[in-house]
Amino acid sequence: MTAQINRRSLLGLGASLGITVNFLGSQVFAATEGDLARKKLVVVICRGGMDGLSVSPPVGDANYANLRGSIALRPDQVLKLDDTFGLHPELKAVHALALKGEARIAPAIASPDRARSHFEAQDVLETGAAHVYGTETGWLNRTLEALAPVRKVEGLSVGTTAPLILRGKVQAASWSPGKGVDETARLPTLLQDLYRNDPMLGPAFARGLETETMAQTAMTALSATPAMNIAAASTPTRPGAARMSPTMANDRQNRAGGEAARKLGSTLGGFMIQAGGPQIAAISLDGFDTHAGQLGQIATRLSYMDAVLDGLHAGLGAEWKNTVVIAVTEFGRTARVNGTGGTDHGTASTGLVLGGALKKGGGVIGDWPGLADNALFENRDTAPTLDMRGLFKGVLADHIGVDRAILERKVFPDSATAKPVTGLV
């Protein structure tokens, strides 16, 4: 462990001085570097303000049932974690992992933003800045940038549009299910030529072609799964957009959505286990803005999330042991149910941390402030006790091997107040 930290500090120092890894001598550290090159990180962004008190209902908290009224879950409805917390009944796969010590909750995590605006909070979550408009690049992209002098690390986002978290100097890949590229057609080559001097389209298109090739492999590897219809998997990245409306979904559609979500997760896993595949990936799930009629809506959304995570677990196979997955949202929701059977924009929420790389046996991550009136943030929201940048920094340092000084300076500037969460892996 000590050797590893030294190794990382050295590499980081080398990087900051512009010295390449070759100079440092790969043979000395080869074994460790090889290990690090297998480490994987997936960030799941749950957009819309995911209700933490639904993800991990604190059924053992004396104030929970009162505050939640008509949308409270009973202790016998949740999947039990400990005396205070359960998991939402739809999070079956997450619960199974939790029982093995491969999933933990951070029940009062928040970004440093307090405006309760989706868009501002999502920006802050994805840029990793201390406040909105702090920077225009995403923290996962700056991670790739920080690692570039040490070893080449690939990043991938799932979905047609590039999320802010992976935007920046390094051209990350993006992928969503489609019909593939005809390798024999001249057009891709001609277009690469036409884009040669285009700083935006050139790199993006080249990256897209590479990713398509990789996708063929990822899907071929999974074709053992009978009757796989990958086209259907385009739905879960925008579950709300997948149909005319989420509330119009019947059980059959929900099942189809869940299946598609699972396949999307397993395909992403298939990408990540390939040689030269992405070590870092981001995926977004929408539809968590549950202002009204929350119970059914969030059940559907969480079942999709569970399916994506379950699929990812399956798709990664043996590489699960090298993986950490973090699922976070831009903010939580009000502790009290509102007038329309839903909840409004709040502050802290629940983050999920999963993976075979986690140290076994740990309780909740961060402190639980409780739901007493005087414990609520501004007398309305779960109070934040953990800055999510601390979680990100801890995982990037201990799991991916990013130098701590570079983390503080380049990846999460102005985050000194957010202490890295250590001891997770």
């Binding site: 047609t160 001249r186 036409l194 389209l201 803005d289 509102n338 007038g339």
Partner: protein, 477 residues
Amino acid sequence: MSKIACQRKGERRLSLPSKDMMAAIAVTRFGLGARPGEIDAAKADPQGFLIAQIRRDGADAPQDGGETSAQRFEQMRDYQQQQKAARQKKDGEASDDAALQAAKAAQLALRDKVNADFLARARLATNTPAGFRERWALFWANHFTVSATKQITSVLIGPFEREAIRPHVFDSFETLLVASSTHPAMLTYLDQAQSIGPNSQIGLRRRGARAGLNENLAREIMELHTVGVDAGYTQSDVTEFARALTGFSVGRDNEDRQGQFVFRDAAHEPGARTIMGRRYAQGDIQQGMAVLKTLAADKRTARHVCGKLARHFVSDTPPPALTARLEKRWMDTGGDLAQVAKALVESPEAWDPTPAKFKTPYEYTLSTWRLIGAEPSAIERLAPILTGLGQKPFSPPSPKGWAEDAQTWASPDGLIKRMQWAQGFAAVVADRTDPNALAVSALGARLTPPVAKAVSRAETRKEAFALLVMSPEFQRR
């Protein structure tokens, strides 16, 4: 060639490009892409060509039979009741296949109407000779986003644009804001219809059980529609505004104005409100209206919305001088949107020959149809590609609406999917075209030698067509 020169911040003199270049810019950047001959038509007076498209009575209405939001609301309610009845029977002893079939049929009928609304709007965009007017309307429809991600709202989007947006896009901003904030589509999409003042008659009667405030619309009006998130308002301002808006609702089945805007006095929270330092006396509907009026007139609203306009039309990072010009005209004219549109056309910064905007999937696909002077023949020609490119019809993922920046849309996966679609489109239409002539009619003076060369050297018409529509010049505007 006449040159109009203007002063920018007392620094260098800014001149407009040639008339030929301006004609190409007028049609592609301000409009929706060139239909055959359109750039030629704009050549004599490119700015006049655009200004002539501004008209007080608003944007064009898509031709789709024109059901009102009230009719659609009623149809949706009928469907929901049918479905409820069918489900109850299903849970009972014997399942009622006929009832289930009827509910299913009603659902499909509604879906067809939403599709028809979208197709009509797309056809208007592909056929209109007034591309700037339509783009201006689309900007406002996206600014006041309502989304089909909510069932009840999905059937109201077409009527919303026809009733609340299109008639007012060259009216005052205040009129547009009030029309949007009182339309059933917005009231359902952002949950306002059910928001109830805790101390209103209804609130006191129900005592908290499924009765209370919902602050969704109040927050998004401030954050997205008017002053913007950085205006310095607080949570208390949002809650106070939500209280002022209680009573803004949609008529129910048993009310006179079913499916239309109603002010429900019994749901309105009594008392004066203080919002952003300004006090609003106790009142009925006038209280909420007064807040809307104040927000519309706020200079932070002008800054927020003019910045968005500049980013939509000109560049993801527009010159500050352009935004300042729009803001000034806005404030000088009390938010007269016809005047703001005119100011945009008159701003020399908007005519930079270097295209800075990357077309969104909607803009991109529709401009391809315009290029060949055609329209999508069916929703199946349009919906799959838009969904594949991340812009599913009528379904922006959040109240912020669709992103409009290149970073979002010029993703590796987005480019691959555009290419696949371009190949498929070319396979169907290219053999009836002369790609070299199309390149000129599509881009005019914006056509660059590398693109012209690539098109002329292509092996087949299909390849030439795909190269043209995938060229950096065609994908930008």
